[in-house]
Symmetry: C2
Subunit: 342 residues, 2 copies
């Protein structure tokens, strides 16, 4: 008989992934590429996901709607970009004085994070997966060092979303400027300060040449998590096997992206310091005032936004318990090691 040699071969599935990031952010953009590579490897090339940089298929911030409307099957983004639509999205990424990278992963994988966020995203036809984290970001580049909270008054700082909202309450003036225009604005003095990511990404943009004071910690992003968004109808159309492919490949890309930042930041920091960058810890009164302002914002959101309240309550309990535990053996070990001549 002329029975085909292979009658059960699964047809090739082709998806598109819209990234919110430019290719130049190779560590973040690269997480989506790594995900796509793993999906293909796991399926013998039968599940192919093409990865598109921000702006290629849709605007960088249009990916939430793009996945929701099934313009694309999936996206890779930093959910706090959608803070303006609803601050609840930021709980899937970072909020000021939130969880650090490991704690965020623990909340997603072992705590209630993934469950609660999946419920939240369901109304947008999105199934979310944690996919990458930068670790604690730096507090950004300042033309003059910040010596006390008084220096924050009137400070024009390039900073997005939630961080900006809190900074405003301590007197700063947040500015919305695309990555590509920050250098010139800092150089001209149109702005006084700008935050970006950390040494590895910041070095490439050269901010140290025009604003050499590099403050830390970036308390508005203590462990920002990136998210894979999958359109729920596209997801439900997959076999159980291919659903597992998505989950496992996202997990590999998740751990790999944090490892890349951890591995690459130290050398970039050395180069920056060798090129004249001055490192400064934010003064305690800046930290304290910002913390107080952030807690006020959260109390207001608890009162006005039920979706936020439901998830933030779980998140903040988890954060309290995590910090209670991490202060002992993790901090005790790290603190000692950081003081040694190694």
């Amino acid at each position: 008989g002329a029975a085909p040699a292979v009658v059960n071969a699964q047809a090739t599935i082709r998806w598109r992934l819209a990234s919110s990031f430019p290719k130049s952010l190779d560590t973040i953009f690269g997480a989506a590429e790594e995900f796509s590579r793993q999906v293909s490897a796991l399926t013998g090339g039968k599940f192919v996901i093409s990865v598109h940089a921000g702006g290629e298929l849709m605007p960088a911030f249009g990916v939430l709607d793009g996945v929701s409307n099934a313009t694309v099957e999936c996206a890779h983004t930093a959910p706090y970009y959608f803070f303006g639509k609803d601050p609840t999205y930021a709980l899937d990424c970072a909020i000021p004085f939130g969880l650090n990278s490991r704690q965020m992963t623990a909340w997603m994988y072992e705590g209630n994070g993934l469950k609660l966020l999946r419920e939240f995203y369901a109304k947008s036809n999105i199934v979310n997966f944690p996919m990458g984290n930068t670790g604690a970001q730096m507090g950004g580049w300042f033309r003059k060092p910040i010596t006390s909270i008084a220096d924050m008054k009137g400070l024009k700082m390039r900073i997005g979303g939630f961080g900006g909202k809190v900074l405003e309450r301590v007197g700063a003036v947040p500015q919305n400027i695309p990555g590509g225009e920050i250098y010139q604005a800092l150089e001209k003095g149109t702005i006084d300060a700008a935050e970006w990511v950390g040494p590895y990404d910041d070095l490439k943009l050269g901010f140290f040449k025009v604003a050499p004071h590099y403050h830390y910690p970036g308390w508005w992003e203590g462990g920002p998590q990136l998210s894979l968004y999958v359109n729920s109808k596209a997801y439900e159309g997959l076999s159980a096997e291919y659903k597992a492919v998505i989950e496992n490949a996202a997990a590999l890309a998740h751990v790999d992206m944090q490892a890349k930042y951890d591995g690459r930041n130290p050398a970039a920091l050395k180069t920056l310091v060798g090129s004249g960058t001055k490192l400064h810890r934010f003064p305690k009164d800046v930290m304290d005032a910002s913390f107080k302002a952030a807690m006020e914002v959260y109390a207001e959101l608890n009162a006005s936004n039920p979706a936020w309240k439901k998830i933030y309550e779980d998140y903040s309990n988890f954060r309290r318990d995590q910090n209670l535990w991490f202060r002992f053996t993790e901090a005790g070990f790290d603190d000692f090691m950081q003081q040694q001549k190694l």
Copy 2:
């Protein structure tokens, strides 16, 4: 024609995984179960790995030979168990004053760790994959609190491998006692102290009832990594697709195990403290003397063991750079958060 309905179906592959752990260590043993579950899910049940507790197929510490000799196709273990064969194995797990959990993952995924360890394992016919981490362990349970280095002299402490070797140099007397016999030895005073894992596992064994002083940090295990060992011939016999299945499922189990410990330790710590456990940081002179002793051991190994020297050189450079970087924004953020009323 009577052509079979499916002519290209991959035959089912059945492997056995020998764990070094008892089922009671559900978080560690569970990582192997999670790995097996993902392998099955990724292959539609066509690649089945049965998971066997320590002692079931071979002794807990026999798994290195078991995989090397292809008695089983794979194992899940803590490579520092093989410290007696060669201390180099410990670099795939934990050494005193080594990398923390995130740094270890960064060394494996982004640094040279995986590459160098694969070369080392090749002579044993093993392909290794990082698969889980407990995070920084606690320093263990003491019948009397340690107030200075003088209290370490003659102290009989249950502690294994590398940690014991260093403790010996500061005057303690390391004891080798299986997990199930620690409680009685502590109760009778046959030993003065014992280390196990951290709050979640330690609570189950009830040590707080007989040795209530719980010291931290466990400087001999700042981020012990578990390893999946796969027999290299079995591995090479897999399709590219199934090789990717192993890698991705191990990555998911890797991130999931750390998340489980991070998620579960805080509640256990609260229970312990509520039951009379006293938390104490190790005195600075104990940390300093132990650090010095560890560095002496490493210098001796560098001189006597070329395999160690090659990998430790890379490891220690990585450790230096990681701690240089982590002391700024990561530590600055964590330190502030741990001081807040959350």
